[in-house]
Amino acid sequence: MNSMVKKYIKRRESGIAIAAILIFILFSVITDSFLTAYNLFNISRTLSFYVFIALSQAVVLVVGGMNLSIGGIGALATITTGYLLQNVGVPSSVAVICALGIGIACGALNGFLITKVPLNAFIVTLSTSFIFTGLVYGISKGFSYTDIPKSFSLVGRKAFLGLPIIFWLMLVMLAVVFYIYQYTVTGRRMLATGGNKEAAELSGINTDRMILFSNILSGFFAALTGILYVSRMGSAQPATGTNWMIISFAVAIIGGTSLDGGVITAIGLFFGGVIMVLIKNGLILVEANVYFEQAFLGSIILLAVSLDRIQYFFSHVRKKMNDSKNK
């Protein structure tokens, strides 16, 4: 793009990266079980899931929206996969395509309601999250689908070059996202929509289409994450996705995705995921009471959002200084 934006992003991203490395060192020093091959393998796998979950949120945050139904979409994709594999007996590829199709359809429904009715993204996705979750439990009656072919678990469990396959998959996805938002017209138009919807609209951008597309992308990532969970667990569980909402916001926000829209960084998302997984993993290793986990997560999000505001504050101070310099 250009040097100054790069500098700006770098400053933001390097802060996140430094924080991640510090936490990493901290846990390496204070616990014995952290820096083991087994633990690191597990961490990198969980990290991959967190990044996928965060991606499904970040792509709608970018256009100034949100998606509270990613957990519902993920669960729906999960049990679609399980149902097709166990009860219908279709090949894996067909199950995956159908599950992704469901995710895209759910995202399209959200996007349609937000842009065409039009309704507020919060209300729409809050409502559809109940609809999707209701469908999940209605269809599965609360039971997991456990008759999943062994071959289906390949991606979720096996390693490549010492790291989980899904970790590599996650890196590829991040690279694709980076390319889209950095270099393509559609990506820039989505950023502009989030930056200032009215100005984007009057500059000839079909903002409704951008918002619709972002929601479809969000549904796609949520469904993909759900399918990967099936592969990871070897079973399709209706409870998949119950904690995604909080994770998605936490990782996306820690990763520097602006809540006001217009900003996304792939590197930030990666390190946001790293911070998140380290804190969760570290809490277990230091034998903190795991029943408090939700409270920790909530606090981390608050902290990250405050940092976002503090950055905002400082950028205003900088702006003021620049303004007076220009005078």
């Binding site: 793009m1 250009n2 100054m4 393509t184 502009a192 930056g195 200032n196 000839g204 220009n326």
Partner: protein
């Protein structure tokens, strides 16, 4: 009397005000002039308590002031009427007036005493000659009416020193006249008035004294009678300004590029018809909300008309979206609202200008935008418009108003539209940049033979640029002036009077 002694104010890295000595006397309308960034706003913020820390001191009627907040200033009888109108749109007129002293209007039961509030507000509405029910919601009122309500609010605080910071920036000359008569009335009552405006003709109309500041320093103070337009501009920008008269446009042929017939949209515009010729500058004049911008937004496909037809280059077209308007019909729209609708403030200059040309400069297969080509094209426009930036990577929010407006225009030059609708191009832009933008619009029509619709409520700007003027009133085109091309003989007052006749 407000007296400033050696007032100075520094921000990190810059001296915004330096050694200002000034006196503002009661019963006097004192104009405070200077380019954007000259220090006017800083000075106003110092004397109204918004910047509690500064160098030097100031006195009101001989008492040294140490104000900690704006509320503190109000309590000392100093109030500011801002260019950005601070109101709560959902609340009633009366509520907006008494907002800061609502606790004075409590019944014994603790409930709000609406009768007393309305009576109180009504008294001050009468003072500013506004004939509206204090109970009506303030939101739908016109910009001028809101401005007057703000003044009523200041009066209700019993202000002895009233600072009017660009109160006329979004109202027409005819509305401003009401404001001026109220200012004169207040002057007779012994109020000290400080008036900031970019419209110089207003200064001559209403002010007694003029003070000019530049780069944070005092340049001069004089009676308005001793000054003329050229002299004031010279004081403001530190050099002589070029001639006002721009010459004649090309001979306009029969070549009609845009034609609208009977455009109607409920409560926005009724039965609007006009023709736009190639190489012409056509003016849309009228109040904010009279239907000018509403019609423009229909022409660019941002909103849909209930009925009526639009023809481009002689062919009847239906414009469904802004992107169709730009890329298929070559119609662009420079918004009146550069901060809300024209620019993405958090993005850099490159992205703000490039937004209209990304699509043309992308690789066919990789879909990658050709950054090198984009930057080259953008730099060309930045140079041509003399936009002062540190580089294409500078954030737009860090630019001055005039430069922001130039970026907003550069975006449309890059899009290379044949028809440009330019809405209020010089609101909040200082004299130097204003002249430059005028020259630019003129050249677009004269040199590049583009067809331009100029929407403005700034009459001198309209007369300077437009070849024909359509007058809008209450969602209709009520008149047309098509004989103002004999520019040598143009007389502003005459044209103003004729427009006034349409508006009655």
């Amino acid at each position: 009397m407000l007296e400033l002694q050696q007032i100075g104010k520094s921000f990190p890295g810059v001296r915004a005000l330096d050694g200002i000595n000034l006196q503002f006397r009661p019963g006097e309308i004192h104009a405070l002039l200077g380019e954007n960034g000259a220090g006017k706003s800083t000075m106003i913020k110092v004397v109204s308590g918004i910047y509690p820390e500064y160098d030097g001191e100031f006195f009101v009627n001989g008492d040294k002031m140490t104000l900690k907040s704006y509320q503190d200033a109000l309590d000392h009888g100093i109030s500011v009427v801002n260019q950005e109108i601070q109101i709560i749109p959902e609340s009633s007129v009366a509520e907006n007036i008494v907002m800061d002293k609502l606790s004075n209007f409590k019944k014994k039961s603790g409930r709000v005493d609406w009768k007393a509030i309305n009576a109180f507000a009504g008294k001050y509405l009468d003072m500013v000659e506004l004939d509206i029910d204090p109970n009506t919601p303030i939101g739908p009122l016109s910009a001028a009416q809101k401005q007057l309500i703000q003044i009523a609010k200041s009066l209700s605080c019993d202000s002895k020193i009233l600072i009017l910071d660009e109160p006329t920036s979004s109202v027409t000359r005819h509305e401003a006249a009401t404001l001026f008569s109220i200012m004169r009335k207040l002057k007779d009552q012994g109020v000290t008035l400080i008036f900031v405006s970019h419209k110089l003709e207003e200064i001559f109309e209403v002010c007694d004294l003029v003070t000019v500041i530049r780069d944070g320093r005092w340049v001069g103070t004089d009676l308005v009678g001793n000054l003329d337009r050229e002299k004031i501009i010279e004081m403001m920008i530190g050099r002589k300004c070029s001639n006002e008269y721009l010459g004649n446009l090309n001979k306009i042929g029969e070549d009609i590029v845009l034609e609208a017939k009977g455009i109607t949209k409920e409560s926005e515009i009724h039965d609007a018809s006009f023709e736009l010729h190639r190489g012409e500058i056509l003016g849309f004049y009228g109040l904010v909300g009279a239907g000018r911008t509403e019609l423009a937004k229909i022409l660019i496909g941002n909103s849909r008309a209930d009925s009526g037809t639009i023809s481009v280059e002689g062919k009847e077209v239906e414009i469904h979206s802004v992107s169709e308007a730009i890329y298929e019909h070559g119609i662009g729209y420079v918004s009146e609202n550069r901060k809300e609708e024209g620019l993405i403030l958090d993005f850099d200059v490159e992205q703000n200008i490039g937004i209209t040309i990304w699509n043309e400069l992308k690789h066919r297969f990789s879909r990658k935008i050709d950054d090198v080509a984009i930057r080259k094209e953008e730099q060309r426009h930045v140079d041509k418009l003399q936009i002062k930036i540190t580089g294409l990577d500078q954030m737009v929010k860090n630019l001055s108003g005039g430069n922001q407006q130039k970026v907003s225009i550069a975006k449309w030059l890059a899009a290379d539209c044949d028809i440009l609708i330019i809405d209020e191009p010089t609101v909040g832009v200082d004299v130097g940049a204003k002249e430059y933008i005028h020259q630019l619009i003129w050249d677009l029509a004269k040199v590049q033979n583009k067809s331009i619709i100029l929407i403005s409520s700034d009459l001198p700007e309209m007369i300077k640029l437009a070849r024909r003027i359509l007058v809008f009133k209450e969602h209709e085109i009520v008149g047309e002036l098509d004989d103002i091309h004999t520019r040598e003989s143009l007389c502003e007052d005459q044209i103003s009077r004729r427009i006034g006749e349409f508006l009655v």
